[in-house]
């Protein structure tokens, strides 16, 4: 051991001034990337240190799933993918579409006939709407048949039902936008079906049309509902839906219990 270390503090020699002190030479200036690399931190680590995302993501993405989880369990994700696809193609369609009664049909025709890949993007949006509704009902049927709506997942079923209604409202509001004869009169009939409800029905129809008659206001109203209000609600509710899935986990398929019973019988 260093003998000076044994001495009481006041007897030790004074430490050298910093300039005289031996030691590693001051390092040359490095750029931030090299510093980070030397410290063993990547860009992801940098982000993680500041957001604390990894425990959350680990819990969210690497959940334990029950035995027997199968392809039916992907229907919810498939529906969400259909929604994301609708959102992306919808945003790009909105770059060319004009919600004006005199120009709506022309602009929709312009998208289909003139815009590069316009027919494809409009076709994706048009068929994707049907795909989303089909997947949604398959997902709903899976949840029902597997009994996955039972305690403690009732609230998630309720959110799912609201999402179903909102998705159908997307279908109704989107159908008007091409503004040809078919979409115009189909929407007239659709609104009249709402008006046929007693007491509140007529008021609901007035709200949807923006007045007593089906006019130019109706088109811009449907466009705003289709573009902003309903997609925003759907996005928010999908967030709540996923949160509950991550929090409560998924259910095992109903036939697993039966297998277990038969095993037990064999053991006996």
């Amino acid at each position: 051991m260093n003998p000076t270390g044994m001495l009481p503090k006041f007897l030790r020699p004074a430490p050298k001034r910093p300039a005289e002190r031996p030691g590693p030479k001051p390092r040359p200036m490095q750029n931030a990337g090299a510093q980070v690399q030397e410290g063993g931190i990547g860009a992801l680590g940098w982000l993680d240190e500041r957001t604390g995302a990894s425990p959350f993501l680990r819990g969210f993405l690497f959940r334990k799933v029950p035995k027997g989880t199968n392809w039916f369990y992907t229907l919810g994700s498939a529906t969400m993918f259909a929604f994301v696809s609708q959102a992306i193609t919808g945003v790009f369609l909105a770059m060319y579409y004009e919600p004006d009664p005199s120009r709506a049909y022309t602009s929709a025709a312009h998208i289909t006939n003139d815009v590069f890949l316009g027919e494809l993007v409009r076709g994706m949006h048009r068929w994707g709407a049907t795909v989303m509704i089909v997947l949604l009902f398959l997902h709903m049927g899976r949840t029902f048949v597997f009994g996955a709506y039972k305690y403690p997942r009732e609230l998630n079923w309720v959110i799912g039902v609201v999402l179903t209604v909102l998705t159908l409202m997307m279908g109704l509001t989107g159908y008007l936008l091409p503004f040809d004869q078919r979409s115009f009169w189909a929407t007239v009939v659709g609104v009249n079906i709402n008006a046929s409800g007693p007491i509140m029905g007529p008021y609901l129809a007035d709200f949807m049309r923006g007045g007593a008659e089906f006019g130019p206001t109706t088109l811009s109203r449907f466009y705003a509902l289709h573009m902003m209000l309903i997609p925003g609600l759907i996005g928010a509710l999908i967030g709540a839906h996923l949160y509950l899935v991550a929090k409560l986990g998924t259910t095992a398929p109903p036939w697993l219990k039966a297998e277990k019973k038969s095993l037990r019988r064999e053991e006996i």
């Binding site: 009664p101 009249n192 007045g211 089906f214 006019g215």
Partner: protein, 222 residues
Amino acid sequence: MADSIDKHKRKSRYTTDRNAPGAFEGETVTRRGLMTGGAMAAGGVATAAIALPALGFALGPMFERTAPSTWQDVGSVDDFNPETYVPVVMNLVPSIGEAGKTTVYIRKFDPSRDTERNSDLPYVAISTRCAHLGCPVRYIQASQRFVCPCHGGVYDFEGKVDGGPPVRPLDRFYTRLSEDGKRVEVGDRFSVNSELERFSPRDPSEHLDGLWQYLYPSRPST
């Protein structure tokens, strides 16, 4: 058992008796409680200041009459006769564009044939909106009936229900002659009940007879 806490006993008005945090002698509301309540009220007022106008903006059209009264020229008096209906294509709402064009069937009023006595309208203008759900009906001269393609609604020559799901006769329009008496003009739509009594324009599927009519009230917008 007298010492046990009675949950139903009324609490003291004074915060000091209730051991509320931050209590002060003689207070009934703590300063903390007042501040919290005040902040909530201010937040509520601020939210309402934004939400109520936005809501009113969206819901307003339900409560105001939006369709202006218009008279549209549909043709010469020679174009129409009392025997059959002549289809006229017109826009019911201004600036709705090509897609919104609709057909109106027009014939001359016939006092010997029309059951609606003492009508002040020189022409009968019948809307093609089916009174079931608003599909376009077609007049068929051979059977002298209006037929709806969607759910099989059938109306007679006057537009009264002959069969199918419609709940009331076909809607009509006010008609008049132009000032020189040579042109026919069509005005606002109105609805009729099974006795052809006039009502404000209603949506399809709204009943106008008996007690049914009270389920579908008249609105300021119609």
